[in-house]
């Protein structure tokens, strides 16, 4: 079983991250996935998070209690959720928006300039797809194929090709990070 949390500020596509990943797992990777999310004012500007519980069998308890993977796209989200990340867990963060504090040796830490990559593709709104690419490469919880299959219906049709490009950019970068990472185990605990 995997517990995953995506976090950032409302508008970064945090809810969409879990929705795409959950759909990919449940429909194309033959896993059970339960997705819950921030709902309310925080999903529209404040600290926002979305959660996924992934399992080989039906998920009973739907909430994340001790995530093995944390994706943080804002400092607030990092501050709030990093302490809950389990020891040895995977932390993926937006390196230009988050400055890790404290003992970074506790977890596997993967910084990525996802917003800059998105801007290079024409719009910072693609940052969440870049993030998902990095996430997919590093955690190996979900297959890249399933992720791409999950996109239609969850991103506007006319932006599908550029979203796939954004995903690929993140995925390649994630593979590079894994190679460079001294402690990389690469699989989510």
């Amino acid at each position: 079983m995997h517990e995953v949390r995506f976090s950032g500020f409302g508008g970064q596509g945090i809810v969409r991250c879990a929705l795409i990943t959950g759909k990919a797992l449940a429909m194309y990777d033959d896993k059970y996935a339960t997705m819950t999310q921030s709902f309310g004012p925080e999903a529209r500007g404040g600290a926002c998070s979305s959660q996924l519980v992934v399992s080989e069998s039906r998920v009973q308890y739907p909430y994340v209690t001790e995530p093995g993977v944390l994706v943080a796209l804002s400092q607030d989200a990092y501050n709030k959720y990093e302490p809950q990340l389990r020891d040895g867990g995977i932390l993926i963060y937006e390196e230009n928006l988050v400055k890790p504090i404290g003992d970074t040796g506790r977890t596997q830490v993967y910084p990525a300039p996802v917003t800059r990559f998105a801007e290079e593709l024409g719009n910072r709104l693609f940052a969440n797809l870049v993030t998902l690419g990095v996430f997919t490469a590093i955690t190996r919880i979900v297959t890249p194929d399933a992720m791409k299959k999950a996109l239609p219906g969850l991103v506007p049709d006319r932006f599908l090709p550029v979203n796939i490009k954004a995903f690929d950019r993140g995925y390649e970068y994630g593979l590079e990070l894994l190679e460079r990472h001294p402690l990389a185990r690469g699989v989510a605990p």
Partner: protein, 388 residues
């Protein structure tokens, strides 16, 4: 219940990754519902949005009404116009619906109403879950009557129980409720929608005899009269007043006894057919956790921890809330040390459990103020207490 295959036009067969609210709309469409009147309110609005979006493709009608009072009024009209009808709401909207829910009960008008519960009282916590309207759904409108209420624990069950709610509503000509909550409403999971020919749907029981003999009511306490469409040339009357078999007012105590006992008996005498429970490891259990909706999924962790700690713990999930499973609970009460009843309110269904257990065993409630789910540890502590 005579079932036939669903109309494929409304059935989105296949696998989907849906939230509970959207699954409710798909279940309604699969059941043949083509009329929805509602007023948006968090956290139920997604159901209305989905239904509205799908209307053009399936030939349905969606009306955004001026409020929830009018929404149920429109459902009554559309049902007598021949449609299967639905609305959704939450919190304050449910309160507003109560007057016309009573009218629907009295006129024996089939309809499905989903309440995606949020924390109250009043506007409370609009975006957060609760299970605080479990008694309101039972007793909320004035007078003495029965309704049917179901409680899904997942998006898949939102779909399944929406179909079942329509079937029950048509079978007993009674407003049927789906009492879900914000968490199940907004949680996404895989929802498998079967092919149309594998979805059993109870159609409207249309009257077949001569026009002059049509009677919209029969007060047998078992079955309900067939229906016709208003405007098709049948002579009948629909009123909230105490009425005879033609539907015309008959304001006597004698007639009221016939009507009220029928409204009660048509549900009570069929309770065994209506009630559905999900039982797990009940045999030989010392403690049985009774839960419903999202709380049953939280309780499952506590049940697992209790079993690991050596307490023989069974689980009984109420899929049907009303009519209440009093017979089964009375039967179990004589065999176990205690029931544990977690719910996101400060004591609603737990009182029904106490009433049914009638002192034969302990009943330990685990209350919650609403706005979140329980910590499984609190439920575990209650299991330990019940096992003493």
């Amino acid at each position: 219940m005579r079932k036939s295959a669903a109309d494929p036009k409304g059935v989105l067969s296949g696998s989907h990754f849906l939230d509970g609210d959207h699954a409710l709309a798909e279940g309604a469409l699969a059941a043949g519902c083509r009329f929805f009147a509602g007023y948006p309110i968090t956290p139920s609005t997604e159901t209305a949005e989905r239904f509205a979006e799908r209307c053009p493709a399936v030939g349905g009608l969606f009306i955004q009404m001026e409020d929830e009072i009018a929404s149920v009024a429109a459902l009554i009209g559309a049902a007598w116009g021949g449609q299967k009808v639905m609305t959704v709401t939450s919190g304050p909207g449910f309160s507003l619906m109560m007057e016309n829910i009573g009218l629907a009960v009295m006129t024996e008008t089939p309809m499905v109403i989903a309440n995606v519960q949020r924390a109250g009282p009043s506007t409370g916590l609009p975006t957060l879950p609760a299970q605080q309207d479990m008694m309101q759904v039972r007793w909320g409108s004035q007078g003495d009557y029965r309704v049917i209420a179901l409680c899904p624990d997942s998006p898949q069950e939102c779909f399944d129980l929406a179909v079942e709610a329509f079937n029950l509503s048509e079978t007993y000509r009674v407003p049927t409720f789906i009492m879900t909550d914000e968490t199940v409403g907004h949680m996404h999971e895989k929802v498998v929608i079967p092919p149309a020919d594998q979805i059993g749907v109870v159609g409207r029981n249309w009257y077949q005899g001569p026009k002059a003999d049509y009677r919209p009511y029969q007060f047998t306490g078992k079955d309900v009269a067939p229906m016709v469409k208003a405007g098709d040339g049948y002579r009948f009357h629909i009123t909230g007043l105490t009425h005879d078999e033609r539907g015309y007012p008959n304001l006597t105590v004698e007639q009221n006894e016939k009507v009220v006992t029928h409204l009660i008996e048509k549900i009570d005498s069929n309770a065994d057919r209506i009630i559905r429970l999900d039982e797990d490891e009940i045999e030989g259990a010392e403690v049985v956790v009774i839960s419903y909706g999202i709380t049953s999924r939280i309780a499952s962790r506590a049940v697992q921890l209790a079993r690991e700690a050596g307490i023989k713990t069974g689980s009984l999930r109420l899929i049907t809330i009303w009519p209440f499973a009093e017979k089964r609970i009375a039967e179990l009460a004589g065999k176990i040390k205690g029931f544990v009843v977690p719910e996101i309110n400060y004591g609603q269904m737990v009182r029904e459990v106490e009433r049914s257990a009638a002192g034969q065993c302990k009943v330990v409630g685990v209350g919650h103020c609403g706005g979140a789910v329980h910590d499984p540890e609190e439920i575990l502590a209650a299991i330990q207490e019940a096992a003493k």
